[in-house]
Amino acid sequence: MLEVKDVVKRFGGLVALNKVSLSVKERELLGLIGPNGSGKTTLFNVITGYYKPEEGKVYYRGDDITGLRPHLIVKKGIARTFQIPKPFGRLTVLENVMSAAMYGRKAASRSEAREIAMDWLEYVRLKDKADVEAKALNIVERKLMELARALSTGPDLLLLDELVAGLNPSEMMEVVKLVRKLVDERGLTIIMVEHVMKAVMSISDRVFVLHRGAKLAEGSPQEVSRDPKVIEAYLGEPIQV
């Protein structure tokens, strides 16, 4: 469904992504992990059009979408959330989510958008906050609103950037279950960047490990968590006695 080929992204002398290739199949939940600064968010920004890669290509359903502007990528059916939530502060929660339905893939009318938005707000259990200004939300609610907003654009592929970071363990497991249900029940394809290992490992079909802008490992959660290279990247080199 999504095919990232040999993508290189540099910031001045720093190589943030060094020939990264990654592919995702329809209805798959791919966990994207890696230490801080390994290029996870940069990769998201390349896929969703916020950054133009210096080299390499991004294909979505066979179309070359490399460097397409972000709003056009949304119309292709790819949506994302941001690591630090970006609410439209002075719009209500409902308007935030409605904007996505009106401008997203389907370009819904106002009344349709309202329905779509309410459905997703119910899904993330934020319906009772619909008429609150978004800036009044707490961090957990902001994250859930971002999820509802991304979903309202009507995506087939959803990119979640540290959705559960900052949540307490019980909230985290709730949200993680919601994400898994999106794949199992709604047929979405998801790539999730996550720092919380327990969250990624418990729900991902496959895990992709980035380290210093390059692929370090790829495989099932079990394989990856046993991989010595991965353990080394996270914990440092084993101590030689």
């Binding site: 969703t48 502007r69 709003h71 439209f88 002075r90 719009l91 308007e95 996505a100 401008y103 991304a150």
Partner: protein, 326 residues
């Protein structure tokens, strides 16, 4: 209860104000009518500014240019081609709107204070062009409106102008009320709040800004026509003034930017105040009203963000919710 409460809280005060506004000229003298009328006109201009300045978050200090472009377009059509301003005002809107789109394109590159500076420069440019093309604009001498009759939007007394501007102001409020919950309005506010996130939900940020500026300038241009019809005489240096651009922005910010009522509230306070101060000191201290706007603007921006309307809404909102809690 909800609907009933809405009725008593919103519709009845609105109806009372509407009736007061409508019968005001029957009881007040021509001087007061003239002041209130000017307040309505400036309220409409401030509401026009609000589209890009308030909802769009692009602080323009060049709106006097759109006012002038509108005034010149309809006046030239009237004086040279005998086209009534009732028709010409739409052409005025289109010409000003096109100029607004250009300013919108500039806003893609110029952010914040640099955009404001850019719009000041743009207004100066418009003034120079109006002076330069003497053949069409009359250059520094301007154009005097010599026609007459209601069919040409020209009246003998102030009262018809009062109603004209009263209707204009009401139309402005209704437009903004519709606009702020429209698809485009929500999109434009989203762009103001966070450009990256706006792109992330599928909004074409460039397009939103350019169209927003064009709509704002279109409305200001129509206001320009009405203004010209009222003063009967236009000249580059009396229309394209930084003072006017500042006044438009200041009224809206003081009243409450990004709301349908901000323009009216601001105009009802600042227009009489500046007319009074100018009558008092005008001859002695040049540019006094400019200083006034600067000071008031500064106070409001620092002390009451959201303007007077925002303040009222917060205060009243709290009072009502307290009451409900008992």
């Amino acid at each position: 209860m909800g609907l009933e409460l809405k009725f008593t809280r919103k519709l009845i005060p609105a109806a009372i104000l509407l009736v007061i506004g409508a019968v005001f000229p029957l009881f007040a003298d021509e001087f007061l009518v003239s002041i209130l009328m000017q307040a309505y006109l400036w309220a409409f201009l401030a509401m026009s500014w609000d589209v890009i300045g308030g909802y769009g978050g692009q602080f323009s200090l060049g709106h006097a240019a759109f006012l002038a472009l509108g005034a010149y377009t309809s006046t030239i059509l009237l004086q040279s081609y005998n086209i009534s301003p009732w028709v010409g005002m739409w052409a005025a809107g289109v010409v000003a709107g096109a100029a607004g789109a250009l300013v919108g394109i500039a806003s893609l590159r110029l952010k914040g204070p640099f955009f404001a500076l850019g719009t000041i420069a743009f207004a100066e440019l418009v003034k120079l062009l109006l002076l330069y093309f003497k053949g069409i604009t009359g250059g520094p001498l301007g154009i005097l409106i010599t026609k007459s009759g209601p069919e040409n939007m020209l009246f003998e007394t102030q009262t018809p102008y009062y109603y004209l501007m009263f209707v204009l102001m009401l139309a402005g409020i209704l437009f903004l009320k519709w606009f702020e919950s429209s698809r485009f309005g929500i999109g434009l506010v989203a762009v103001r709040e966070d450009e990256e996130a706006a792109e992330g939900v599928g909004i074409n940020v460039y397009r939103a800004k350019v169209i927003g500026a064009a709509i704002s300038a279109f409305l200001t241009g129509i206001g320009g026509t009405i203004y010209a019809q009222w003063i009967h005489f236009i000249r580059p240096d009396i229309l394209v003034k930084l003072e006017y651009s500042t006044q438009i922005a200041a009224i809206d910010v003081v009243g409450g930017a990004g709301s349908p009522y901000g323009g009216l509230i601001g105009a009802l306070i600042l227009v009489p105040l500046s007319l009074y101060l100018n009558a008092l000191f005008g001859g002695m201290i040049a540019g006094l009203s400019l200083i006034l706007y600067g000071v008031v603007l500064l106070i409001v921006v620092v002390m009451i963000p959201g303007g007077i309307y925002g303040l009222l809404r917060r205060r009243l909102g709290r009072k009502f919710s307290d009451k409900r809690r008992g």
